[in-house]
Subunit: 243 residues, 2 copies
């Protein structure tokens, strides 16, 4: 089985850290990447500071297969993502002719000098057309640069999503009437016998018919089913249900 592709997400935005805007874009990527079978390994929210953008992009690009940035790509003083990504790759910002053409089409006579800032990309960046060629995504190597406005973010990501698709995850959930402290030893045995599985344990404070939700998952459906059967047997009457 091929190694699962990994991903990192970088949200660039003072507005999220200061509570002016609630994030929608990381939420969308969590759902989408999961559905695509990609392992999301890190999300970071950083301010509109070019050095912080450059450092985060450099680290994530070296560490994960795919990196997605959100925000900081408009024409104003706080739009520093292109500069930050360029610095991460020891590149510089240039005007992209195809983006300039699209901007001229869109703005026509209203096009001002500042609008042209939106044609700036790191030197070496490509336009990824995807399924909706009127909304190309700027990609610098494995870094996909997406805008912060949620409607445009979603539309652009969905246009390129299929290039990231992997085999799907399989997930089983076992709900128990015993607390974590009671089932911990049985969980340890399963984790030791099935080191290739992700095993999670999530206690609930109150308000449901169970105390802990145990999750077992991997891309190998057979292993998940086998581990689920073994754990259900070990937990015995503490199992409320399995989904």
């Amino acid at each position: 089985m091929a190694a699962t592709a990994t991903a990192g997400v970088i949200l660039i935005g003072d507005e999220i850290l200061s509570g002016k805007t609630a994030d929608q874009n990381a939420r969308l990527l969590i759902t989408e990447l999961r559905e695509l079978g990609v392992a999301l390994r890190r999300i970071v929210v950083i301010p509109d500071v070019v050095e912080e953008i450059a450092t985060a992009v450099g680290e994530h690009a070296a560490r994960y297969d795919h990196v997605f940035t959100s925000g900081g790509v408009g024409p104003t003083h706080d739009d520093l993502t292109m500069e930050g990504v360029a610095r991460a790759f020891s590149s510089r910002v240039i005007h992209h002719p195809e983006l300039e053409r699209l901007l001229r089409l869109y703005y026509g006579e209203r096009l001002g000098e500042r609008h042209l800032r939106m044609a700036e990309v790191p030197e070496g960046a490509e336009l990824v057309a995807g399924s909706d060629p009127s909304w190309p995504v700027v990609a610098m190597r494995n870094v996909y640069i997406l805008p912060g406005i949620p409607e445009i973010f979603a539309r652009k990501f969905r246009a390129i999503r299929e290039r990231f698709r992997q085999s799907p995850y399989h997930l089983r959930c076992i709900f128990t009437s015993d607390e974590e402290g009671i089932i911990a030893s049985e969980l340890d045995r399963i984790v030791a016998s099935y080191p290739d599985l992700q095993v999670g344990s999530y206690p609930l404070l109150s308000g449901a018919d169970y105390k802990v939700k145990v999750t077992l998952e991997s891309k190998d459906v057979g292993r998940v089913e086998e581990a689920t059967r073994a754990l259900v047997e070990a937990l015995g009457s503490a199992v409320v249900r399995v989904t």
Copy 2:
């Protein structure tokens, strides 16, 4: 004016990255820290991997005044936060006598060996009692270790919140009928004249009576008011309203 205290937040949880649980704890801290006048500078979501926890905690603790972790503090195999924080400070995990006493009180005869894992803390950690002494928070230097369950997270944070209070932020918003490309030059002038202010520019795609929301903020109310008056005058009839 004293420098504003800064904060970093570390969410430890495969369940967030894989979409099993939606984050509530970073959202709470965004709102609370803002209200307390603390500058939140970074949020990171990482998996339940002890080396990643250690690295993130070490970096954040060195860089920000206050660090808050969420998750990974129960009795099961995926609860690795205490070990990660200990490693970040080249410390080791020990049993805390006061936490052990509280666990014995709570569980009584049901107390098992695995429950005692919840008395483990990094050597050198303190218990911060706050306003609700039955819910102490484990703190290792400037790192406050909070549990992932949102109800307990909120209760514990609120018990200690007043120790972080700073002078409040002042915020003004100017809504404009012109796009970002048109107002960008005026914004540049304000940013140059008021380098001590945070100036944000947030375009809206559709569905409102304005195109851009400009935010001006700082802890100095006089500077915010002065910059707001100057920008309103410069933007003229493009100003839809000021709040």
